[in-house]
């Protein structure tokens, strides 16, 4: 066996998969994350470190163009796979490995790609000069307009925030959601919506999905806070809860995770005071759900998620609220969460802004697919 083949056989044992979550494809994303962990693969955090792009769901035109741009940024050897239902994810991942192993196809792909010609110093492509604007101290500083998302690790699916940065401080931002196609209810709210419509739903199913939703949000925030162990543990409990695991094991692990998070003074020190939304301000904005009940900063919302997940698993009665808030209004509960983001993130640097966004965690599924019974 040649050296390349030998290296390739070692390399494809552990591919790095860049997940592109699409609104409407939450189930696919969850299945993909679970399978990646089971197989010992790695979830990539940037196109440069990825071999495989997995599109979780069916993107629309704008999101599809974003995926194409990300695809272009992958160095070779690369594979592009997509899946629109959780049953086909395993086959898609196997197909991805097959594409990576196909050396002839990879060579053809490499030959087709054009490397850019070296640029002269005074014509950097189509990039305009950086404009200048006032910063918070009244100085005129360079301003950079970038777009956070839609493909970013630990980021709500399809969320796009256009921000104007000075240094790494956000001067102003605007949020929107790019969509996908799906015929189902939003995954996290499906049980509650069925209950509101009068269809029969088992309470155990409702409780499990509510706990899993909170754990999913908590895992994202813990990953952004840099605590890999806790994020992995939260994802593990989420998969146990959603799968066929016993409630006893899930409750046990969740209790331990909750205790670790509460005891961690480093986490509290790192995330306290970010994105403060006391109860009055939250009520005024129309926010319901855990963000209202927590009534404080990002750390308080994180602890609220873990507490409510524990309560949900402990067989306490579940109300009609979805994981983000009330589902019987005229707007989805994630809409006020999305609307409050630009105001809360202005003046924060990138790290704290991402923590604030993760602590509110609007669900793009709800925003695009309409998670309010009052909506047509």
């Amino acid at each position: 066996m040649g050296l390349t083949e030998w290296l390739r056989s070692a390399a494809t044992r552990r591919p790095h998969v860049l997940l592109v979550p699409v609104p409407g494809g939450t189930q696919v994303r969850l299945a993909a994350q679970r399978l990646i962990v089971e197989r010992g693969w790695v979830e990539a955090t940037s196109p440069a470190g990825a071999d495989v792009v997995l599109v979780c769901g069916t993107p629309d035109v704008r999101l599809g163009r974003a995926v194409d741009m990300v695809w272009e940024q992958l160095p070779g050897p690369r594979a592009r796979i997509s899946s629109d239902s959780d049953a086909t994810v395993a086959d898609a991942l196997d197909d991805g490995v097959r594409q990576l192993d196909d050396l002839d196809a990879q060579r053809r792909d490499a030959g087709r790609r054009v490397s850019p010609s070296p640029l002269a110093d005074d014509e950097p492509g189509d990039l305009p000069m950086a404009d200048r604007a006032e910063d918070r101290d009244g100085l005129k500083l360079d301003q950079l307009h970038i777009q956070l998302g839609p493909v970013l690790p630990d980021w709500p699916a399809g969320l796009v925030m256009r921000v104007a940065l000075q240094g790494d401080v956000i001067q102003h931002s605007a949020a929107e959601v790019w969509g996908g196609h799906s015929v189902h209810d939003p995954f996290w709210d499906a049980g509650h919506l069925q209950q509101l419509r009068g269809e029969p739903v088992t309470p155990a199913e409702l409780r499990r999905r509510l706990a899993a939703a909170h754990l999913d949000s908590a895992a994202r925030m813990l990953a952004l806070a840099g605590w890999d162990d806790a994020a992995t543990a939260a994802n593990r409990v989420r998969d146990l809860v959603l799968g066929s695991g016993t409630t006893a094991e899930a409750t046990d692990r969740l209790t331990r995770l909750h205790r670790r998070v509460r005891r961690s003074r480093l986490l509290r020190w790192s995330t306290s005071g970010l994105g403060v939304l006391d109860r009055k301000a939250a009520l005024a904005r129309g926010i319901t759900g855990p963000a209202l009940r927590a009534g404080g900063d990002g750390y308080a919302r994180l602890c609220q998620w873990l507490t409510e997940a524990q309560l949900a698993l402990r067989e306490s009665p579940v109300g009609t609220d979805g994981p983000r808030g009330r589902l019987d209004g005229t707007t989805p509960p994630s809409q006020p969460l999305l609307d409050v983001l630009p105001g809360l993130t202005t003046g924060l640097d990138l790290a704290t802004a991402r923590l604030v966004i993760a602590s509110l965690d609007p669900d793009p599924d709800e925003l695009l697919l309409g998670a309010a019974v009052g909506q047509p």
């Binding site: 552990r14 010992g40 850019p116 690790p153 840099g226 162990d229």
Partner: protein, 309 residues
């Protein structure tokens, strides 16, 4: 007592660095796999599989990067780790026994400021640039406490030569009566290796920061450089705080190795268990807590030296 070594010492040191770096990466992969619940022990192959993958991956470039400085910054991490290791004795042997070994180590870790910033800025990418500046912001806070943590053993041994510091620990190891310096030193190793609680420059929230744009061999050099820096830092802790190769039964070079592995195990174990500290929060801790404590430790050491004669 350190011996002058033939020219073969340098490649042997490089091989040792590579071997220990792979060991550290393998331990990290096993710990990650265990916490994720997937097959734990099999993950020890992860560093070799990752190396194979990155060797086969193509290099990529961005729009209008400063290619020379970008690649240079990335490659400098491994080089600096090797230079750091040049003054660390393995038992009785050392590559270069500089009379100012402690200062050499400090100078090398200051070179990292330039290396990591270039690796971030050279890519002409937002996330890379933010990562580079995050490293500078973080390094500003740990550098002075690190310097004073290195001064304490040198004061106690009345010499900047690493061999003399090892010899002066024949009574009590410095880690026992200079605990503040030891802890500050270990924290600084995590800091200049950009891992664990001080992984801010390569954090997930900016798509791996300094690691956002490079791929292929450049990425391999950066990732290997981080592990190599952890190894070099752990190795330097042994002669400085843990008595070098001193110990019963085993030969001194084996004791050095065992102690290095122990310190490395502690560093790797701490890596994933603590959340990342942001540089603006860390500035308070570094300047208002770590620096005065490190200074107080140096004062205590100086008084002890005076009293002893």
């Amino acid at each position: 007592m350190t011996e002058a070594t033939p020219w073969v010492a340098a490649p042997v040191a490089a091989l040792l660095l590579a071997g220990l770096a792979v060991t550290a990466a393998a331990l990290d992969a096993v710990l990650v796999a265990r916490s994720a619940g997937s097959a734990g022990l099999v993950a020890y192959r992860a560093p070799l599989q990752e190396t194979a993958r990155l060797l086969l991956q193509r290099r990529r470039t961005t729009l209008a990067p400063d290619a020379l400085l970008w690649r240079f910054g990335g490659a400098a991490l491994v080089t600096v780790a090797l230079l750091m290791l040049a003054v660390v004795p393995l038992g009785r042997w050392v590559v270069v026994d500089l009379p100012v070994g402690v200062v050499w180590f400090n100078a090398m870790d200051v070179l990292l400021w330039a290396a990591v910033w270039l690796a971030g800025w050279g890519a002409n990418s937002v996330y890379g640039l933010v990562g580079g500046y995050r490293y500078l912001a973080q390094a500003l806070s740990y550098e002075l406490p690190l310097m004073f943590a290195l001064v304490a053993p040198a004061t106690a041994a009345a010499s900047l030569r690493v061999g003399d510091i090892v010899a002066a620990q024949s009574g009590l190891w410095y880690a026992v009566w200079m605990p503040v310096s030891f802890v500050v030193y270990l924290g600084s190793v995590l800091g200049f290796a950009m891992v664990g609680p001080f992984g801010y420059p390569a954090a997930r929230d900016i798509a791996d920061g300094v690691l956002a744009e490079p791929s292929g061999v450049d990425r391999l050099l950066l990732l290997a450089g981080r592990h190599a820096l952890m190894v070099a830092g752990a190795a330097f802790a042994v002669p400085l705080f843990l008595g070098g190769g001193a110990g019963p039964l085993l030969p001194s070079w084996l004791w050095s190795l065992v102690k290095t592995l122990l310190v490395l195990g502690v560093l790797v174990g701490l890596r994933r268990r603590l959340p990342t500290v942001r540089a603006d929060r860390f500035a308070e801790l570094g300047w208002l807590v770590a620096l005065p404590l490190a200074l107080a430790q140096v004062l205590v050491v100086s008084l002890v030296v005076l009293v002893r004669g």
